[in-house]
């Protein structure tokens, strides 16, 4: 018997053959009317034969499918009767055409029109059986829905105050998850869930909803069962979501009402949230919804203002007329082993670094750099260049300098006196100069424009850092694990804000 059911399910596939062939036959009959296009005549005999044979085959498969059970009601009766009629009519047409050509010519138009009409109606009924009766018109314009006897779709309620618990919350889920088997046309178990009345009436085994008693309601029991249970619903489909079950349970307990508003039933907070989300579905696939509140305490307004500022800065840069730094200055720098770039296409101040990092510079090289570009250099990298205090003495004349890297050299506190005369210095990197000690703290603190200093791997002690911080609380001091200022926060892995995950 199972093999019969297996074959029966091919009905929904095979049915497309006679449908197509009937339309082909109709087209050919029309083209060859009154002796036109005699070249197409030979195709007609074949088309009629194929139509009749496939129609008979499909009807047989259809009866097998019906034998499986579960199809009840007027729709399936009509579909069966009309389908059988198609097989009969097409067979009659085929035989008449080959055996009684003159008779056929008289009845030809009537037979073809009848077949096409039958196939349209039968096909539609079949579609209703497999997809549910609302399928075709679900998204139809309202005037078509009204012709089909359905309620027009209004703008869907989006707030709890406007939403009806049945129409706006429960019914859409029923339509999506249940109506394929429990509708007016396909009432498996005698249950029609497409209307409120049908839902309250219940099925062959009695009511599925007991108002005010979710625990005693068969619907709630079945959708809550594990998928492997015999009574589980929706059968052979994924279960309802936890949220959906929660909302159904709440609705039944609250009396399974319709004609009121959700807000009037005063649902608990979690149900309110779920319904709110159902009423306002978030677009999937990463599309933007409402900007959620930042979880990490950063103030959104400040961030937005900052972002605006960044965007404005960008616009200003873009608007600047391109200018070119003096090529002779650059040539001088290149000649002694530096690489020089402009700050940006509109700003000819120079960013200077070694062309071969780590290869070192002589006092003469530094001298050349300074005399060629004294008011041009804004950012200078002299890291890992084997420099001593005397070598860097000339850089005191780089009056525009804001950023200076001197890390990994052989400098001592004496150099800090030199740096003190740079009027615009914002940041200096002294990392890995063991000769810089606590004795230089006073000189660093005296640099008015300075905002950030790197002192890791120098001779400066923790006490020295503390002293500098006291003298210049505005200064960001990065000294590895002794850091102070804005940069020091990350060194503390377990701050007061630490919270346990709740689970």
């Amino acid at each position: 018997m199972h093999f019969i059911y297996f074959l029966g399910r091919f009905h929904v596939l095979a049915v497309h053959l006679p449908i197509t062939l009937i339309l082909v036959v109709a087209a050919l009959e029309w083209l060859t009317r009154q002796g036109r296009r005699p070249d197409l005549e030979p195709a007609l005999g074949l088309a009629w034969a194929a139509t009749a044979i496939t129609a008979i085959g499909t009807v047989i498969l259809g009866y097998m499918h019906f034998a499986e059970g579960g199809f009840q009601g007027a729709t399936v009766e009509a579909h069966r009767a009309l389908g059988t009629t198609i097989a009969v009519v097409s067979t009659v047409g085929w035989i008449m055409r080959s055996q009684a050509a003159i008779l056929f010519q008289k009845a030809r138009t009537a037979i073809v029109v009848l077949l096409v009409a039958l196939v349209v109606v039968t096909g539609h009924l079949g579609g209703n059986l497999t997809h549910g009766s609302g399928y075709l018109v679900q998204y139809a314009p309202n005037f078509i829905r009204e012709m089909a006897g359905l309620a027009p779709i209004g703008p869907r309620a989006t707030t709890l105050a406007a939403a009806d618990p049945y129409t706006d919350v429960i019914a859409p889920v029923l339509e999506q998850r249940c109506s394929q088997c429990h509708s007016s046309s396909q009432q498996k178990g005698g249950l029609d869930m497409s209307t409120y009345a049908g839902l309250m009436k219940g099925g062959g085994e009695g009511p599925v909803i007991v108002k005010g008693n979710a625990k005693g309601s068969d619907l709630i029991r079945r959708v809550s069962l594990p998928e492997t249970d015999d009574d589980y619903m929706p059968k052979e489909h994924p279960p309802l979501t936890a949220d959906q079950i929660a909302v159904f349970t709440w609705w039944v307990d609250a009396g399974a009402k319709t004609g009121v508003k959700v807000a009037a039933l005063d649902p608990p907070q979690n149900i309110q949230t779920i319904i709110q989300n159902e009423l306002n579905p978030a677009p999937g696939g990463g599309a933007a919804g409402e900007v959620a509140q930042q979880s990490n305490g950063v103030n959104n307004k400040d961030i937005e203002a900052a972002a605006k500022k960044i965007a404005q800065e960008a616009e200003l840069s873009e608007a600047q007329t391109p200018k070119q730094a003096d090529p002779s200055v650059i040539a001088h720098l290149v000649a002694v082993g530096f690489m020089a770039r402009q700050v940006s296409q509109g700003d000819t101040h120079l960013v200077v670094s070694p062309a071969l990092p780590g290869s070192g510079f002589s006092a003469g090289d530094i001298q050349t750099l300074v005399s060629a570009s004294n008011d041009q250099v804004i950012d200078l990298n002299l890291a890992d260049s084997a420099l001593s205090d005397s070598d860097i003495a000339p850089i005191a004349r780089l009056t525009a300098l804001t950023h200076l890297r001197l890390d990994d050299n052989k400098l001592t506190d004496k150099s800090l006196q030199v740096l003190g005369s740079l009027p615009k210095l914002v940041e200096v990197n002294l990392y890995d100069n063991p000769g810089i000690t606590d004795a230089g703290i006073q000189a660093l603190a005296a640099m008015k424009s300075l905002r950030r200093v790197y002192l890791f791997q120098t001779g400066v002690t923790k006490a020295g850092i503390a002293k500098l911080h006291k003298l210049r609380p505005d200064l960001e001091i990065d000294a590895g694990d002794m850091s102070v200022g804005a940069g020091g926060a990350a060194q503390n892995p377990d701050p007061p804000g630490h919270q346990e995950q709740d689970h």
């Binding site: 279960p239 972002a307 960008a314 690489m339």
Partner: protein
């Protein structure tokens, strides 16, 4: 994603832009038909860097025949906040729902089906789309909040949790590509089919290098891909001149094979050989006018200079023990992520513009519970050490570190949750982090929903990420173009918006 209309294709050549030598050569090729041979010879001298002004570069005892490589633009439109990039690609797609994106809902509903409303119509990979159930799977390990920023971090990343205040997170990344290779190629080149120039190639092309003796774009790999392809298209130069392609350092003991001269060949002889080759190339150029000849000669020259520069890069004898310890015990093993991180720091110090580190082996469809902790153990300490190390040297300020994967992984389990389950590919949302280079430390951009399945605020694409990266380097992503087959191409294709929120506004490094 907006389609850009602004100045598309208008290459701004102004300010300190150096002569666009490549286009110069191209032009001279076109002029050959009308003007004869003379023009080409001039361009050749120019390009080979043998003009008198350039010939003096370099220190005594160093090999230096070329002028500094400032790229074709030298500098961007904006003052640069970052001077170089270290790009960590966790190949295979790390599970950010386990590591960064804390969702109490997943703990609560562990083992229960994801709501249908949540799954929606989002595309699933064919590896899990046939599953009958999509059960929520709680993260591998508990998460806690760290730092002043209060960022949630998994217990699998104990070292990263100590530096969260230096990081800037983008939680709202999403992508349309769910297969490793196209998603990775899309991320690196702005297009999902191979053939376009990669991020590092574009940046080298624009800005050149800050070290004459090393390639401007270096690629290193660690770990095992486990079937996830490592596609050379990710560091290809595409249609840009071939010298901008990423130079791959091998993961073995010798980062470059055959680097040393053959026995009996001295450095002087090698030099003479290259000079002769160069002469022949010039002759070749006079007849063929093919600009690619210069690319090749420049690469010969680069290889020659790397004979000196590369052995020193991987010689850690000058690193103090404290630094070695910081990166963890793996740092002495060739081919580990730890060692690559330390090499990356050393390359950054020496001015390499763009370094891509591939940390492979994150494609955990199955056995997530054992594989993810193992990968995290290899990754956590070195990655955190890299940030700390750069920071205490004062280099984090102008070194942009970006880290993430080609996509994320599903909050639901792939396979039976009772067995060796894993997580499938997920493009709906995933987390990236950035550090330094002018990014806003301690900030988290974008929001995901309660299941870490969809983006609900500030969606960000790989185009946006690339546009932002270029912006931090001073480049307008809409103006960095290359004319090829009649069209001006960009790294961001036709999309991308700079994410201004992730840029630190408290003052640029060049205010």
């Amino acid at each position: 994603m907006k389609r850009s209309s602004k100045r598309d294709g208008a290459i701004s050549i102004g300010g300190s832009d150096l002569k666009d030598v490549i286009d110069g050569a191209r032009r001279s090729f076109l002029m050959k038909a009308g003007l004869g041979l003379g023009v080409g010879a001039v361009a050749a001298a120019d390009v080979l860097g043998i003009t008198p002004a350039n010939a003096t570069i370099g220190q005594p005892g160093q090999v230096g025949r070329n002028a500094p490589n400032l790229g074709t633009k030298g500098t961007g439109v904006y003052p640069a906040r970052a001077k170089r990039v270290i790009y960590i690609h966790m190949l295979g797609a790390n599970s950010t729902v386990d590591l960064w994106d804390n969702k109490p809902t997943l703990w609560k509903l562990n083992g229960q089906p994801m709501p249908q409303s949540e799954l929606g119509t989002q595309k699933l990979s064919s590896m899990s789309s046939g599953q009958t159930a999509f059960l929520c799977a709680a993260p591998m390990a508990p998460m806690h909040q760290y730092g002043q920023s209060g960022v949630w971090v998994s217990d699998l990343l104990p070292h990263m949790s100590g530096i969260v205040d230096d990081l800037c997170f983008i939680r709202s990344m999403y992508t349309v590509q769910l297969n490793h290779d196209p998603a990775g190629v899309l991320m690196h080149t702005g297009f999902q089919l191979p053939g376009r120039p990669s991020d590092g190639a574009w940046i080298s092309y624009a800005l050149g290098n800050d070290n004459t003796n090393l390639p401007s774009f270096i690629v290193m790999t660690s770990g095992v891909g486990q079937g996830v392809p490592l596609d050379t298209a990710d560091w290809s130069a595409g249609f840009l001149p071939s010298e901008f392609q990423g130079a791959e350092l091998r993961s073995g003991v010798d980062p470059v094979l055959y680097l040393n001269n053959l026995g009996g060949v001295t450095s002087q002889e090698r030099r003479k050989l290259l000079d002769s080759l160069s002469d022949m190339a010039k002759a070749d150029y006079r007849s063929s006018q093919d600009p690619d000849i210069f690319s090749r000669i420049r690469q010969y020259e680069m290889a020659y200079r790397m004979q000196h520069s590369v052995p020193e890069i991987v010689d850690f004898s000058d690193e103090p023990k404290s630094v070695m310890d910081m990166y963890g015990p793996d740092v002495i093993q060739p081919g580990t992520f730890a060692r690559n991180c330390l090499i990356a720091r050393r390359l950054s110090e020496r001015g390499v513009k763009f370094i891509t580190l591939y940390a492979m082996g994150w494609d955990h469809h199955f056995q997530l519970t054992t594989l993810l902790p193992a990968r995290c153990k290899e990754f956590d300490q070195p990655a955190a050490a890299l940030i700390r190390d750069l920071k205490q040297r004062g280099m984090l300020e102008d070194t942009l570190v970006v880290c993430g994967s080609e996509f994320g992984r599903t909050p639901f389990a792939q396979g039976s949750i009772a067995g060796a389950w894993g997580r499938d590919h997920h493009g709906g949302n995933y987390t990236w982090w950035m550090a330094g280079g002018g990014t806003r430390a301690g900030y988290t951009h974008g929001e995901t929903d309660d299941f870490s399945y969809n983006v609900v605020g500030k969606p960000t694409t790989t185009y946006d990420l690339n546009a932002t990266m270029l912006r931090l380097l001073g480049i307008d992503h809409e103006r960095l173009t290359y004319l090829y087959l009649g069209r001006n191409y960009r790294l961001t294709d036709q999309f991308g918006d700079v994410v201004n929120e992730v840029i630190d506004s408290s003052g640029s490094s060049l205010s």
